[in-house]
């Protein structure tokens, strides 16, 4: 009886062993980690990032401009801190990985950055824009995209100085992202002499803002600034239209997506949002990137921030190469090399990192919604004239 029992278990164990056997494989190429939201709300963006990164690696390996071959190890941060932390640990645990780049959600990045630092793993933050990410001034932590505070300072200045806004009503969606943007915009606006007449929080997923807007309408501000993402922005814009409110409505980069235009429908026109970066086609390497991405025949589009991942990958690979020339390729030597990047030709332009780890190249573009599309303000057919959006 007992024999049989043990026999079965032994069988079971062997089965498992066999299965596990066909797991591990070893490779001599240099491994680079990518961490980003491949599932959850930001999956589309995350996959765009991943594809673009892979594109960069393929090109590099094909061109043979580097001594080493590179391999991308992809993990999913789910866009939320807890998942991100275990994902980060997965990368750290893999001894072959010498550097990591990625992240779109600031929450995730804020959670992982200390861990990467703790384990001496260089992380090049690709598209997460929370200012505090580089606060620690860790040598391992660098960011290629411009931080949110720059965007918001620019936004505040433009609104007040260029468009002459004096009174502003603030709304934020109480998320990390929205709140930070709203606060920074408010500071910038105040600095330039505008007054904030009211500040309200809404919650993501809330649908009925009529009460809030009715209240704000009564305050009659010259502009409303909303810190948050597309859905709520669109609802606000719609319900503003329902209430015949035609004051300026400004927001952050989070609302720049087709979702906004789709939901806001006819009401979308005239929405103004400040974005980090520049339209791809107006960037130095933009056209080329578009072409090669199309050629690579990925299933998914590269989405808004793909090219940042492409650049990150190239920065990291170049850094690895440099580290290799100067000695052993270790996580720490790569970290130093990344930080030392100077005038590196990227799609977005010449990239150099400052001592905090921020990219010295700052790109901010205001966009305006026209006919259900986002158009860079400098190309738009509508513009702000005495505090109203009008046709040129």
């Amino acid at each position: 009886m007992k024999k049989k029992f043990l026999f079965v278990l032994a069988m079971l164990t062997t089965v498992v062993m066999l299965v596990t056997g066909c797991g591990a494989k070893k490779s001599d190429t240099i491994k680079i980690g990518f961490i980003g939201p491949l599932t959850g709300g930001n999956a589309a963006t995350g996959i765009g990032l991943k594809n673009s990164a892979e594109l960069a690696i393929r090109e590099a390996n094909a061109s043979g401009k580097y001594k080493h071959k590179f391999e991308l190890v992809v993990v999913d941060d789910g866009g939320n801190p807890s998942t991100a932390v275990s994902a980060a640990n997965k990368l750290i645990a893999n001894k072959d990985i010498v550097a990591v780049f990625g992240h779109f959600n600031s929450g995730a990045a804020l959670a992982t950055v200390p861990i990467f630092h703790k384990n001496g793993m260089p992380i090049l933050v690709t598209a997460a824009i929370h200012p505090d990410i580089t606060k620690g001034k860790y040598k391992e932590v660098t960011r290629i995209m411009t931080a949110a505070n720059v965007q918001n300072e620019f936004a505040g200045k433009t609104a007040v100085k260029d468009w002459g806004i004096k009174t502003i009503a603030l709304i934020n969606d109480k998320t990390d992202y929205g709140k930070t943007n709203a606060d920074q915009f408010a500071d910038a606006a105040k600095k330039n002499g505008a007054t904030i007449i009211s500040e309200d929080g809404i919650s993501v997923g809330q649908q009925d803002f009529s009460a809030l807007l009715t209240k704000i309408k009564a305050e009659n501000p010259e502009a409303i600034y909303f810190g948050g993402v597309a859905t709520e922005a669109a609802l606000l814009k719609r319900q503003m239209a329902d209430l015949n409110m035609n004051c300026l409505f400004l927001s952050d980069s989070g609302i720049i997506s087709d979702t906004f235009n789709k939901i806001a429908g006819s009401a979308s026109a005239g929405m103004i949002a400040f974005n980090i970066g520049k339209p791809l086609e107006d960037l130095p390497g933009g056209k080329a990137f578009e072409k090669s991405y199309a050629a690579a025949k990925f299933a998914e589009p590269h989405e808004a921030y793909g090219h940042f991942a492409y650049d990150s990958a190239n920065v990291v690979m170049a850094a690895v190469e440099k580290a290799g020339e100067q000695g052993a390729i270790t996580r720490s030597s790569v970290a130093t090399a990344i930080r030392a990047t100077k005038d590196f030709p990227c799609i977005i332009g010449k990239t150099t990192f400052d001592e905090r780890g921020e990219n010295t190249l700052k790109l901010i573009t205001p966009y305006i919604s026209e006919g259900g599309k986002w158009v860079p303000y400098y190309k738009a057919t509508t513009q702000v004239v005495n505090k109203k959006v009008v046709k040129k």
């Binding site: 029992f5 043990l6 596990t20 384990n119």
Partner: protein
Amino acid sequence: MIKILLTEIIGYILFLFFVYVEEPIAVVAVMAAFVFAVLFLKKKCGEFVKSLEKTYADNLGQVGIIAVVLALTMPFALMGDAYWLQILNFSMLYAIMALGLNFMTGRAGMICLGYAAFMAIGAYTVGILTLKLGVSFWLALPLAGLLASVFGVILGLPALRVKGHYLALVTIAFGLIVQQLLLNLESITGGTNGLINIPSPHLMGMDMGANLNLSFMSMSYQANFYYLCLIILAITTILIYRFSNSLFGLALNAMREDQLAAQCYGMNITRYKLLAFAVGAFFGGISGGLYAAMINFIAPENFGYSMSILVISMIILGGLDSIPGAIIGAFFLTIFPEKFRAFEDYRVMFYGIIIVLCLLFMREGLLPFKHRIFKPGMPKGEN
């Protein structure tokens, strides 16, 4: 004794392999093999399995000790792999919560759909105390538990007046209110940004957040937390076991079965209800505190309604009021989805399906609650 040792070692090895398997297909294969094996054993040598169960039940002490000893070697077996150690740590955190909630809901019948709130309270207590006031983690952790208990009692107060469905609503509301407050009380909780860079605990001058470099292998700092969680889980299990098997636990059972009758037989419902809430909440707080110290970053979004549901589904899967069930449920529902990261989007759906299927077809859960057997005259309890 030998039987226990042998079977537990085999279980340990199986578990290790399960951890090492990566491809989803392989995982499925292993699961299938396992299920098959179990069915086969039940069928072919049922009485042996029964006798085994009995040996386990009769020598709980030994079982526990051996299990702990084996568990102690786990980090080495895993080569100090940061990722898997962390998954195990999470499993243990959840197990602690599941035990707490199980005591509240399974044993005392006080349904709680806002359990994540207690975790949040614990996490923020530790976060704020250690980060802003520089209190030692070792002091902050028990405080976290106690504060959670206090909130447990506060939540218990309306629970004195309401039952069943109403209580469910109250607890949901409680969970949401706590989360909203964490969002809105920025000055204390850091609002939506949460608390960043919570210091990791120090033990005898050693930073638990630093990787361990042993002479023969270097281990991720997760190993430190592994041992911490293991110890606390062990303590939790013992405590809950004793609570449950005391006459006090029996009284709670009676209250679950029929409050009014229990009252008519001299139970001061108020006292028992509040105690049940306090105990359940305490462990929620503890695991929250551990979480904060381990992840070093907490934000309200981590302690939402879905977290409460997750813990509920763990105890339902394991079997309401079953202590081993709660632990197994927690481990399974934490590790299994990790194997299917590719299907991350189906995770929540998976929890939902687990709940529905268990309640429809396996109301007792994986490891059903075992009734105590009394020998009239001389008592001998087992659970």
